[in-house]
């Protein structure tokens, strides 16, 4: 019985239609996408999505994590080829075979963490691939001058000769913007650019983006921050669950309506939350601090309780729990398990005590993709499997089979490589791996449903519910508000490295979480000093 095959769907390649027929449109559209569908193995990442971009507008693209925004951007920039749909650039249909086609068509993207040449200078990063060459010689002087001019126009505080790897993320983004300008991009896409920036840096970015718009360029701005959208965009398009929900004028849609559009679905069905009588406090951290990452973080978990930890990307959630689990070394802080103080110096200390982490990046941190499922499951319990040092392979197979079936993994055999599974089933293997550790007391799940489809999400929630029923303490980190509201008993919100508030299940609303996770500009400046 073959339940799942690791092969991707057959790719349909669009036939390039190069008709130069101009469309008569009322509004001045520079880019239009119609009915875009993109399928990844096991997941429909985009489902009949539409998008229209006017010339000279800043258009916000919003939606939850996993709504399909990033995939959509990759389709526009030619990184992914869509299975269905058409793309019309300045009136003519285009088909990009690769990122280079998109670049040449005048589309440039600036990512949250720019992927550039870290060991090379700013000038080189800007002009790589289209250097100024006269009789075989690169015209450094001219290029530096042009780079300087671009940087001046962006009011940048670094030199063209600086090495990009030594710049801050905000500065690196500026290099990418300068690169887009040097190629005279007509459409500039900014993918969550403010997520890793401070308030001052964000303000500067706003000014630059407005200037680009005034020059007649069109901008697609992706952000989780409403602040960004209200400040910049004239229109906003919302995606949800890989689908197009609608496009609205920013000054005509209320905050509440927008959130409803983004979240939309009925929460009660999705989240099998059961009322469980909570036990005593099982786990508590006090004053966790790691310089530059998070500061004075404290929270507690009771037996049978699901505690949510949320906040914007870069708020320090993952960094905090990694320090709790001994992955990185905190500067300060105490950890109590069942009332007793626990010293965690390395990951094994936490694991031996029964604190189990399901890491955020399952492909890099959670699994060895080239290995079979069974071996992945039993990796953390090598000590238990050891019979005088030898690997008890019979026991190993039994444990792996039992745990993988317990979480209902869609797999044929425990020997098939983890890379052959879909994202959701890979996540189940990670859960099975945690369950294999019989001394488990506290489970920490970092973005357990990131990038997996709705069905698998629900199964993960059900597993969480069962674990809570058995009296484990559960910490769930998530950026997706519906799931954290749907599943958590209490929610700690983090913001810029500290806990900005704790909300009880009875009082929690999306607005309250948003409020707590987005500090005011004043807070950022003032908050750092304290």
């Amino acid at each position: 019985m073959m339940l799942f095959l690791g092969h991707g769907p057959k790719r349909h390649f669009m036939i390039m239609i190069m008709d130069e027929r101009r469309l008569d449109v009322a509004e001045d559209l520079i880019l239009e996408l119609k009915g875009i569908t993109k399928i990844f193995p096991g997941v429909k990442a985009l489902d009949q999505v539409h998008f229209q971009l006017r010339r000279g507008e800043i258009h916000a693209l919003m939606g939850e994590n996993g709504a399909g925004k990033s995939t959509f951007i990759k389709v526009i920039t030619g990184v992914h080829a869509a299975e269905e749909g058409e793309m019309i650039l300045e009136g003519s249909q285009v088909h990009f075979r690769g990122p280079r086609d998109a670049q040449e068509a005048g589309i440039a993207a600036v990512y949250q963490h720019p992927t550039s040449y870290p060991t090379l200078s700013v000038t080189e990063n800007i002009f790589m691939g289209h250097e100024d060459v006269k009789s075989g010689m690169i015209q450094w002087r001219g290029m530096h001058a042009r780079a300087q001019k671009l940087l001046d126009s962006l009011d940048a505080d670094f030199k063209p000769t600086d090495e990009v790897g030594s710049l801050t993320i905000a500065q690196q983004q500026m290099v990418e913007i300068a690169k887009a300008l040097s190629a005279d991009a007509k459409i500039i896409i900014l993918d969550e650019p403010t997520a890793a920036l401070t308030a001052n840096e964000s303000e500067k970015l706003y000014e630059i983006v407005e200037k680009l718009r005034d020059e007649g360029r069109s901008i697609i701005f992706i952000s989780h921050r409403f602040e960004d959208m209200y400040r910049l965009a004239s229109r906003v398009t919302v995606f949800r669950d890989s689908r197009y929900i609608g496009t609205y004028d920013v000054d005509q849609i209320s905050n509440a309506d927008l959130i409803k559009a983004m979240v939309g679905r009925e929460i009660t069905d999705m989240y099998p939350k059961e009322e469980i009588k909570l036990g005593d406090e099982i786990f508590r951290v006090e004053g966790m601090t790691r310089t530059g990452y998070f500061k004075d973080v404290s929270f507690d978990v009771r037996a049978g309780e699901i505690v949510g930890l949320t906040g914007l990307v870069g708020a320090g959630r993952t960094e905090t729990i990694e320090s709790i689990c001994g992955i990185t070394k905190p500067d300060q802080g105490k950890i109590y398990l069942e009332g007793k103080e626990l010293t965690v110096r390395k990951p094994q200390d936490a694991m031996n005590a029964g604190i189990i982490l399901l890491p955020e990046d399952r492909q890099k941190q959670g699994l060895i993709l080239s290995w079979g499922l069974g071996r992945n499951v039993t990796l953390p319990i090598q000590g238990e499997l050891s019979k005088n040092g030898f690997n008890d392979e019979k026991k190993e197979r039994d444990i792996a089979k039992e745990r993988l079936e317990e979480v209902d993994t869609k797999a044929v055999t425990i020997f098939q490589p983890a890379s052959s599974l879909s994202g959701g089933n890979q996540q189940k293997v990670v859960v099975a791996k945690a369950l294999a550790q019989s001394n488990m007391k506290v489970v920490i799940m970092d973005e357990p449903t990131k990038g997996i489809d709705v069905g698998a999400k629900k199964e993960i929630y059900e597993i969480m519910g069962q674990l809570a029923k058995k009296g484990f303490g559960i910490i769930m980190i998530s950026s997706e508000m519906p799931e954290i509201i749907g599943m958590a008993d209490r929610i700690f919100v983090m913001c810029a490295g500290h806990v900005s508030g704790c909300l009880d299940r009875s009082e929690v609303t999306q607005e309250r979480i948003l409020e707590l996770s987005m500090e005011k500009s004043g807070d950022r400046k003032g908050g750092k000093a304290s």
């Binding site: 992955i327 941190q365 060895i368 499922l373 990796l379 090598q382 030898f390 690997n391």
Partner: protein
Amino acid sequence: MAGKSGREISAMPEGGLKSKLLSWEGALVLILVGVNILGVSISPNYNITNVLREMPRYLAEIFMMFGMGYILVLGDIDISVGALVCLSGTVTVLSSNAGAPFFAAVLICLLTGLIGGMLNGFIATRFTELPTMIVTLGTQIIFRGIAEVLFETWGNGGGTASMADTKGLMLLAKKIGPFPISFFCVILVGIVMITVLAKTTFGRKLYAIGSNKTAAYYAGIEVEKIRFICYSLLGLLSGLCALFLLTATFGSNTTTGQGFEMEVIAMCVFGGIATTGGKGNLIGGFIAAFIIVCLRIALGQRNINTQLILVIIGLMLIISVLVPSISSALSANKKKKAA
């Protein structure tokens, strides 16, 4: 407890005799047989007695091959071991000449290797940012440098030293039946090292680190501790190699062990261990080592230019690493044609 769908997942181990025979190790066995047939056909003197008589001087390197296999499985590399053999041998000869009893000299030999390996391990685990190639390039020059200094300051100079009292070494060079002692030692060490890598939880951890260091660390494996152990182990085996090399050379000079590191890595790679880590096993390396030894002996007996062996080793190495990419290119081509 099964999941709600009651779906069953098979836990029956796959593979049988057929897949074993079709594996790279199977191919290596065939090559080994082929080499021996070649030996017999080109030289009338190529027989078991003669092969075993000539074997000891080639056997010593195989000890290190096992340690190097561990390091390569980890995804690291160590190019200092040849120099470490030189240093261990030199220290042994000089301390024996200075009056140390034989068993003490043996201990010193192994200890020198161990300390050298520990130094590698210490630097490689403390400064994880550094590629291990650079670390061991540095220690390679240092180990040989120390040996060179010792020849001049402690020994009689001239960059060479001979063991005055060879009684102990003669004992080690003895034979049991037609087999030299070193042959038994290699087999013994080989069985232990192969078993540890293939069958124990320690070996499993090595593969985990080599396949995905981050995931291994998140799964609670003490990555740096294990790396340190493996470097130390390789150092110890380098000491063992130096000891058995002495039973054939009875002395040491500045070029002792030169190029050993590359030969040992070549044996591992030819045996199917990938330098990128996480792949291969020592059985392949073990067979590959004997292929090279037999080939050497066969060519040596025929009085063919012995250095032709270098060309053959090089060709085998490149062909063996090109096989996977050629076969994948071929199968991709086939698919294209079929579609």
